[in-house]
Symmetry: C2
Subunit: 247 residues, 2 copies
């Protein structure tokens, strides 16, 4: 188990194979307490965490998220949501109401939700568990919102698997990252030249067996990719959950 | 200095008063390395960090963000941005282009940006620095994007002050949080009853000298509050930076 937070960061890798072992309730409580200690804008805590313990519900979420077996196998599965519904209820209880628009809600709510999710994952890794964020919950976020009985003002942002890593499937190496100079800019954005882009491809090549980053990027991000297909579902879900910008 | 990540979480408090001391470059490098180790969707690293070292630029950002003196005083100030511009350039270099829509870009880009920001802040706190997230950078995010020369596809999400805490101004206690049962739900969202809402107000009362959470919530989140005024600016900035949902 890493001894310092810097070792924890350096050794981080995503785990996609879990043993079917439950977590002691005390560990679940510790990691959820850590999540709640995250910074939060104006102390408003604009997020909720849905802990999914029901086997049938897990199974359905695994299917909706693109057949991700680790959602079924992991000891604990959480859906982290932005939540401005609670804030609206609190304000109404004192005679006013939530007055912020959809863009502000999305931006600050997602920020609060992910700050809590980051603490949750890091606390789990500090105990020795494996973790895997699930962006694929967005595949059918409209249906997922219904399955979790989310009221208007609540929107799933990301899933998180936590569990005992299958020792046969722990990645040998952490994934590569871009050179720091392409991610960190000083005082203003530095545009990329062609040789920068080639250097970025070279740095990220170890990500795939073919030693080429491009097929991964194309599969996810090109016009026919996974991400493009999610836009219409997200538009429907944002409308359904009360976050559609009026245009 | 906290010895474990759990102490770090438990002792977290936001610092708004810094000594005017620079950080050793080695510490800056360590915290930026930690940020880069954060999980990232499909390894795409859809974020950029603008390190603001220029004094005049800091001063202008402090003013735009609502006269936040700690932006001027802290040793290091970062603006964490979602970035799909770099991804578009990488795809174009191989003959295709970014195909995802504005909602997908906002959601995944903000998630990547905040996971990196969380690591950055935690690494800084682990070394012993104080940190303060600055949601107020959204006040004039349209103007801020121009000041930082952000191309289309890049949008500021949050600011982050890192520095040597002024020992005279370290808050005595961490801020209160809502009872866990109001933030964590099991298998589905549990709606709040009036007595839950009152319990939430009671739990959060220590946040203000008047022992009342409502004035804070009202000032930020009611129809005439700070957050409501940000919607129109964000709409303009989303359009300017290429993220406007087509409606």
């Amino acid at each position: 188990m890493p001894q310092t937070i810097f070792q924890l960061f350096a050794e981080h890798r995503t785990i996609r194979h879990f043993l079917r072992k439950p977590l002691p309730e005390n560990d679940v409580d510790r990691i959820l307490t850590a999540a709640q200690r995250a910074p939060t804008d104006a102390s408003a805590q604009m997020y909720s965490i849905i802990r999914v313990t029901d086997t049938a519900l897990r199974d359905e979420i695994a299917t909706l998220s693109g057949e991700q077996q680790h959602i079924r196998d992991c000891g604990e599965f959480f859906v982290i949501c932005l939540d401005v519904h609670r804030l609206d209820k609190l304000l109404k209880r004192r005679g006013t109401r939530l007055g912020m628009g959809p863009r502000v809600s999305i931006l600050y709510g997602t920020t609060d939700a992910i700050l809590a999710a980051a603490n949750l994952a890091l606390a789990a890794e500090a105990i020795g568990y494996g973790t895997c964020f699930i962006g694929g919950v967005q595949n059918r976020i409209d249906r997922l919102s219904q399955l979790l009985a989310l009221p208007r003002g609540v929107l799933p942002i990301v899933g998180l698997c936590v569990g005992v890593s299958d020792p046969d499937w722990i990645p040998a190496q952490p994934r590569p990252r871009l050179p720091k100079a392409f991610v960190v800019h000083e005082n203003g954005y530095r545009l990329f030249r062609n040789d920068d882009l080639e250097a970025a491809y070279t740095a990220m090549a170890p990500i795939s067996r073919r030693k080429d980053w491009f097929p991964t990027l194309e599969r996810y991000f090109a016009p026919d990719g996974t991400m493009a297909r999610r836009e219409a579902v997200m538009a429907a879900a944002w409308r359904q959950q009360g976050f559609e910008p009026e245009g």
